[in-house]
Symmetry: C2
Subunit: 286 residues, 2 copies
Amino acid sequence: MAISIAHLGPPGTYTEAAALTLVEHLSQTSGREALLCPYPSIPQTLRSVAAREADLAVVPVENSIHGSVAITLDSLWELDQLKIQYALVLPIAHALLSRGSAFEKLKTVYSHPQALGQCQRWLEAFLPEVQQMATNSTTEALQYLDEDLTAAAIASERAAKLYNLPILASEIADYPDNCTRFWVVGLQDDGRGDRISLAFSTPTNTPGALVNPLQVFAQRGINLSRIESRPTKRLLGEYIFFIELEGDITQEPVQASLAALQEHAEVLKILGNYSVLPRTQSSHQA
Amino acid sequence: MAISIAHLGPPGTYTEAAALTLVEHLSQTSGREALLCPYPSIPQTLRSVAAREADLAVVPVENSIHGSVAITLDSLWELDQLKIQYALVLPIAHALLSRGSAFEKLKTVYSHPQALGQCQRWLEAFLPEVQQMATNSTTEALQYLDEDLTAAAIASERAAKLYNLPILASEIADYPDNCTRFWVVGLQDDGRGDRISLAFSTPTNTPGALVNPLQVFAQRGINLSRIESRPTKRLLGEYIFFIELEGDITQEPVQASLAALQEHAEVLKILGNYSVLPRTQSSHQA
């Protein structure tokens, strides 16, 4: 039976491109076919797996320019039965799409907040008077272009081809090497790979509450590749830490660190032990 | 001469309410008068101080529900001549404003992305079909209400009074005790207070690169009250850490920690040594 893969839609989003990379990987490694299922938001994408409507979900985690995708971290903390099975990194190339012919006539630019954030300086330099409007996905932004020649959208060149929309400008991100990291999430934990992601909350107002939990890894020579904090939403100054470390859950120093971490953490959730899929410059990007 | 205070405008924003709290504090402690200067964005607010157009800027740093205000951290890292002079915390109470009379007829809700983020569950529960549109400030969202009875905005009750707009629903944030922390930033560093904020980038791909810099404080018994990471924007996996610690820059252990931190950091910037203004439930909130 085909594997169903949930992602932020409609078709044409960067997350769909990431899902297509996963489809290729699954086809090459296990010969399994896959079916893509677009959802209108990241929380709904993740909930579809928790509710067993889809087998896997592909969600963006962080971008090299704009940083963390907070809604992904917050949703994963809540839906704690989900486990990360793979990570993958995708190069991101933003274009400005419009049916209008000139920059001077543009009044509004629509896109996902992450894409607007990644092109902030470009927009300030070339479209300073244009109103920026956030949409649920880069593809959703395209619906505003058909009847309005003063509207533009930021999306991929792939989306431009898919919906037959003219490109007014290419490569408009503020910094080169724009990349987004995605997680592939499912209900089962394969428990294989060289990365471990976990999240924990700490008791408040305890001296060292933020640093002591991080030291359990340093003391055992385990390298952290990422530390991200999110608010607990209960009280200003209370945080949940999302940590990524290099290691395998079966290694003794990793197990000892996690046991020690349990002493410092209020709530500790292992988000997954997984591997990073090899980077592709696949045709989905073009 | 009056002190000029830049803030995100137009008048009626939560940042203006925070600026009014500062005005009260300055008037009580030094008898100095102040002049509020609204700016259309957070980067422009901060740049006004760097360019000596305004004496101080008030900017939001983090919210108890939605987390960090990334653009504030990114802008302060860039404009490194600015120094934090005070922190202040403001309770935030969001209301739904509209000239339309019924939820069922609403098609669009406008607000700042932070305010939309703080009311996400409420919006999903009560206005699931309504399109969410991001604006540059909560006050900017109000301009859409006058001619469109299907439009609503999320802003404060204070803004509703100021612009004479009807309130359709009150207290619509997803969690109680919603608070935002603000920084007051100027060109001079008073170097007084019990908080120190700093930011640093680390060399990449070095084992312990993320944890070693944090340990310099733990080793000397200095408590960190916040750790936040932002991307360097150069390469995925390279971060700038924003750290807040309890201490005074004149204390010996603090100076020793900062000297040790210098060894681990690629670039280190002291953002300020400041105090937290007492919390007020002032009339500006109502």
